[in-house]
Symmetry: C2
Subunit: 347 residues, 2 copies
Amino acid sequence: MSKGSHTPPLRSLRHKKRKNKPIPLNDLFEALGKGEPSALARAITIVESTKPEDIETAQRLIALCLKVNRTSIRIGITGVPGVGKSTFIETFGSHLTTMGKRVAVLAVDPSSKMGKGSILGDKTRMEALAKNPAAFIRPSPSKDTQGGVTQSTRESILLCETAGFEIILVETVGVGQSETLVHSMVDFFLLLQLAGAGDELQGLKRGIMEMADAVVINKADGNNMAAVQNAITEFRNALHLYPPKANQWSPKVMQCSALYNTGIDALWELIETFMEHTKANGHFERNRQEQQKNWFLQTVERELGLRFFNQPLVQQQLEHYLEQVAANRIAPVAAALELLRLDQTTN
Amino acid sequence: MSKGSHTPPLRSLRHKKRKNKPIPLNDLFEALGKGEPSALARAITIVESTKPEDIETAQRLIALCLKVNRTSIRIGITGVPGVGKSTFIETFGSHLTTMGKRVAVLAVDPSSKMGKGSILGDKTRMEALAKNPAAFIRPSPSKDTQGGVTQSTRESILLCETAGFEIILVETVGVGQSETLVHSMVDFFLLLQLAGAGDELQGLKRGIMEMADAVVINKADGNNMAAVQNAITEFRNALHLYPPKANQWSPKVMQCSALYNTGIDALWELIETFMEHTKANGHFERNRQEQQKNWFLQTVERELGLRFFNQPLVQQQLEHYLEQVAANRIAPVAAALELLRLDQTTN
């Protein structure tokens, strides 16, 4: 490790190719601790990598980061395309940096295809924040598997915290299970909405309302104010229908205009109130512990599944069994047992 | 197999103890095909059993049943204790048998403890139906694992269908994931509710409204009628908030009095309309195929998990890792990889 110390630490990581030689992880970790954006970007690239040597490095880096005791607030932000997520994060993030906070923006985008979803976290959408030295923006990783994306985002959060970012915004778009994934890694979950034609909840994604700690109606400006009031009433009525949340927090409905920077300060006050509330009743700590445990168990289960289903013999037969099962030619349990007999995994 | 044919088929199953000798499965299957209640009860006991020899028998029996082409309607029924599920099933089931249908009642109760939940499907709760020769009532299996219960209930449905029961009622109480499990094995999902103090949805279980194909307000009799009207309005408004279902069916809200047998015929007409609708648009068949495929994949994943987590070495270490992970002393992914290294499973 000391041999690499005469070269710039980050570059040395890239050029070190000797096998079984540990890369100068401590240098990267040190740069990370100083909050160097390039070190953070490099570290995230490592945890996003699927190369075996990077996976090992990532785990050693994460182990070091765990020893750093940083407090942070992790905020999940979701909303359909067009709701103004980029402008919102730009304004909200800038508001926070003005208050002296350091803000990191991460993205979870389970859709691996190019398209609406994959521009999440794009720096060009958040110009001011991208240039802001107190902010760090990381575009969505381009991994194929949902599980992989989640895993690296969870680790990226830890890296950002190690680099001294106190507020982590995790952005997602409503694709597949992405909201549930983001919800499982944040302290506070925010649903951005628009005021519409009086039937705001129609078409709202299943389960999303139940996860929200706050619903914020964006674009509350200009001629839109009457519609916003209606939307607020409708969302309040709807939220009222749900049973109390485990954190004993009644979800709030608010309005803002990210464009004109109104309502943003009130939202931040709400989040501070939420933090006080959940820290006082113990939910904050309990929730983070549960999230850690679930992450651990999910990783075990996912790995078991990957190891099994990635076997060529299993892959060959899977489609066949799915067809047979759908056609009622073999019972699902019998098919499962037959497929499991192909298991060749050992350690 | 032919050797056992001189003894009564069902009794012979019980007394056959010679190892590696197949039990006279064909006799059981034949009796099942004739709709003999004792054969059906015996067959369900086999699929509920966790003994290795029974598991094998069960799979051979299920394989035979798959070849029988029976049409059926599978109806899931849920509602909190006190909503009148037993009386409802008694009245609804009797109505169906009067129409010449044969009705089987199964129960999914994930709570293994004795208590409110575990009396599900108790014959003493449905006296008339229990004595009705066109009806078959099976109490909830007393297995420990949720997965086990689900699996055997799915197979029990098939056994009931093989025995000529055309309508399968799968009853559940709102514990844990039981509604989701039942929803994953039926064609039509019915939520029983009571009219209350004007805030019927408060405290309603998360996600349950989204699964319902019909909400039926029970105990619509006597002085309760005004409250029932309010409940109907409130549920209609709430259902309206959800996005369209995959089956392109708008969930309906109805009322009935199981005690006075009103509204029961209208409910059956609704279910017939639903069947016509989903058979015409292809959803009925597609849904059953998807259910089969999911059952297959879930069985594989559950088995992988069971095989791994049931290893003594893994069990020993699991609690330790959960604690370490919750306390942030080890990263979840690192802990998962360490635990996976203990894997000794081979085939």
